[in-house]
Amino acid sequence: MPTVTVNGVSVEVPDGINVVKAAEMAGQEIPHYCYHPALSVAGNCRMCLIDIRAMSAKQPNPLPKLQIGCNTIVADGMVVETNNPRVEEARRGVLEFLLINHPIDCPICDQAGECKLQEYYMDYGRHHSRFALEQKRHKHKVVEVGPDIMLDQERCILCTRCVRFLEEVTGTNELCVKERGDHSELSLASGKSVDNPYATNIVDLCPVGALTSREFRFQARVWYLDSVPSVCTGCATGCNVDVHFRRDSLYRIKPRANAAVNGYWMCDEGRRTWRANHGDHRLVASYDRRGEEFVQVDATEAVSRSAALLQACGKVAVVASASVSLEEGYLLGCIAHNLGSGPCTVLSPPTSDIADDGKLISTDRYPNRAGLLALGYRESGALPADVDGVLVARCDAVAADESAWGPRLEAMRATVVVDDRISKTMAYADAVLAIASHFEAPATLVNRKGRLQVLGAAVATPGAAIAGWQSLAELLEALGGPRYESVDEVFSACCAELGLGVARTHEELGSTGATLDQWAASPTNVALSSAASATVA
């Protein structure tokens, strides 16, 4: 492995990487616009100019011209300076060039606060304008380039990240640069619209405010938003995401890089999943059926009522959708065990009319099938014949097939429904437990490739709903099971059950997760396990 020295910091780096990455490994930032690790090198923004003081151990001579870090591959003994006066002057010059024809309309720009022009200007520019305002070149500002994307040609710095993404990743080629010199503008290829399943990634790729999301436009100033690392629940792929929110409102979902799962991207469908978290369809309180009436009850009463109903049955089936988290799935399994019923059932069909696209989109529209199967769930489309009670978790079986499910549920001695949203199945319920959505409580999921990943809690549960693990833990306790005080206790027990070690926590799993195999092989959290054994002692 070659050793490279960046600004006096030597670091051993993998073969074949470029100097921008090597500098990053040395803790040195090389600012850049057009370079993106998942796209081909364009080398056009010229922001990553660096001074190569020694090309390699074999060629220890400095290069006469500044080079671009993105297109310079490391060599052993390479010495690079990124902050000397020569580089600083060139970089300041590039920034000034980028800004002369830029509208500098930050006050009305959605990118403000997460704009690389703003950031690098503050870090590396801070020059006074020498370009007269009336000389700025004007271009179109509100160009609808797709159903979800708006283009402002004036703000565009022509880095071509979007063009390359649409050429190299989606292969759809909707955007191009036309005209020449400072007339150049980002433009739709004739007859096209940026309308593909991954289109909004170009909004994330855009380092400035040229491409904005029509959904997010003018909705919030980004500096008012908080974010939490999480996982997309739109399908079985489990793309890593950051969920952006303010107080109790979600605003957007952006992909978070994870080479083992989604690279740098996510699909637009997944981005829209947050919308379902708001609205009248959410279940905000628990209910108990009194005759024909549903009566709102508090969570504790709903749990004890549910326990009593289920215990009164001869044989109970536990059915769940593959949206149920690993913790919830584990607790449901314990509940089934305590009730003496057979293995739990996953009802969700493993395929849908959306096909696997060979990229990120999975035909399995549920995020935790692999987790539930690991816990011993069976896949089936129907209830066992001999049951007289049913516990339904995050699953609207009736909506899927009312003629099959309606009469069966009608005939049950008890139907208990646990969900975060109002469902048709609830019409047949004797008790309903309101729980958090996957944006509201921490949990883990296992994606289609067997990767265990953590869902982050962004916003509070609405109304009287409580976390799914909590609701089910209380139900388990009411049925004579052990008591769980935290989600990590449930997770730890679940890990032990799955042979993944004991005393493990979400924090230990980290934001990029691990495959079940890796996780089983990794050392467990020593501090916590010793604390746990101390408690036992």
Binding site: A90, F97, H183
Partner: protein, 423 residues
């Protein structure tokens, strides 16, 4: 030089455009030898030995360039003849193409044999409609004679020439822009490395040589490197075409030994200044190179000597300006050209070329002051060496040199604005 080599057509009455006349004058003997007698390595060796330096402008040693070709890649090797001749003030290659096309074809055949090329392209600028027709006709004649095709000179070797017309962009003359253009794309110069010799047209090892360079190859192989090296300075030798335009009595293309003095070229060959006029400035190598003042023309016109004098031999397109020239207006025109021709890929060039022109328009129209002169120089400085290709440098170098060499004229223009503002 007594004997004309590259412009031999001028000494003959027979029309060299016709292949039989060219053959009768000794043409294609050397190409035949190259295909039937000489080993390719021998040809490369001769060209290296001759110290031939690229006539397109950069002056890179041609033989050395050939040795950079990636070996044993399993891919075809391409030879591209750069006949884009787009540098303002340059019209020498046109002279060869239109009057002695077979000389170019023969040089290309020899070069193609040397580097192992089977398909070669001549990329000719779109405006050279006549030149393209001449070349197509000449190529057809060569095919008819069996000099091109599946069995070149009966050697069993294959060689094909194709003429590709450009569409009029300056940047197509940049070798990687030219490659992109041949591939049917916008001529956005490529980032280097990889260089064309490793990854060129269609992703294959490629050599791009200028028309005059390839014409020289014929004569080097025909007469030997020693003959070539004896003409002009040994480090940058050979016969050279100088194109003189502007305020001279006898503008045109002149074949002279490399290293002929700039003064001799202007005063003797180009006929000197018009009556009653004196020399003010000379751009020695096409519009992109630094300008020289009238007192700086006692220099030898070869790559190294002109560089030592602070300019470049470039394409040897000599633009002469007499005392009637308004240097601000002249520079404004040059800046307009580069603004118009920037491909728009790299930030400094895309934004800088327009900015330079805007300041120069303001200066020319009496709206720019002393501070703007500093900005002008500083903007140009920021465009040097910061981009993928040298179009940015080509735009910046004249600006900086005009400002330096004719500072009093630019200050006077700036003062005009200050006066206007205070009035």
């Amino acid at each position: 030089m007594q004997e004309k080599v590259l412009l031999r057509y001028r000494d003959l009455t027979a029309d060299l455009e016709a292949i039989d006349n060219y053959i009768a004058d000794g043409g294609y003997r050397t190409a035949r030898r190259a295909f039937t007698e000489l080993a390719p390595e021998k040809i490369v060796e001769m060209v290296k030995e001759s110290n031939l330096r690229g006539r397109g402008g950069a002056g890179f040693p041609t033989g050395l360039k050939w040795t950079f070709l990636a070996k044993n890649t399993g891919k075809p090797i391409y030879l591209l003849c750069n006949a884009d001749e787009s540098e303002p003030g340059t019209f020498k290659d046109r002279e060869i193409i239109e009057n002695d096309p077979h000389q170019l074809l023969e040089g290309m055949m020899i070069a193609a044999r040397a580097i192992g090329c089977v398909n070669a392209y001549i990329y000719i600028r779109g405006e050279f409609v006549y030149g393209a027709e001449v070349l197509k006709h000449a190529i057809a004649e060569a095919y008819e004679k069996g000099f091109l095709g599946k069995d070149v000179f009966g050697s069993g070797r294959e060689l094909h020439f194709h003429v590709h017309r450009g569409a009029g962009a300056y940047v197509c003359g940049e070798e990687t822009g030219l490659i992109e253009s041949i591939e049917g794309k916008r001529a956005h110069p490529r980032i280097k490395p990889p260089f064309p010799a490793v990854y060129g047209v269609f992703g294959c090892p490629t050599i791009v040589n200028n028309v005059e360079t390839l014409a020289c190859v014929r004569h080097i192989v025909e007469r030997g490197p020693a003959w070539f090296k004896a003409i002009g300075p040994a480090s940058s030798p050979g016969p050279k075409l100088y194109g003189v335009s502007g305020h001279v009595r006898n503008p045109g293309v002149f074949e002279l030994p490399m290293g002929t003095s700039l003064r001799e070229i202007i005063e003797v060959h180009a006929g000197g200044m018009r009556a009653g006029r004196t020399l003010k400035a000379v751009i020695p190598g096409g519009s992109s190179v630094p300008v020289l003042r009238a007192d700086e023309i006692d220099i030898a016109m070869d790559f190294d000597s002109v560089a030592k004098a602070g300019s470049m031999l470039g394409s040897a397109g000599i633009i002469v300006m007499d005392d009637s020239t308004d240097m601000v207006a002249a520079l404004r025109r040059v800046a307009h050209f580069y603004h118009h021709e920037s491909c728009g890929q790299c930030t400094p060039c895309r934004e800088g070329t327009g900015w330079l022109e805007k300041i120069l328009i303001a200066l020319d129209e009496g709206r720019a002051g002393e501070e703007d002169l500093q900005t002008l120089d500083n903007v140009a400085k920021g465009m040097l060496g910061t981009t993928i290709c040298v179009l940015s440098d080509a735009a910046a170098m004249p600006v900086r040199s005009f400002l330096k060499k004719f500072s009093e004229e630019f200050r006077a223009a700036a003062a005009r604005a200050v006066g206007a503002a205070s009035a």
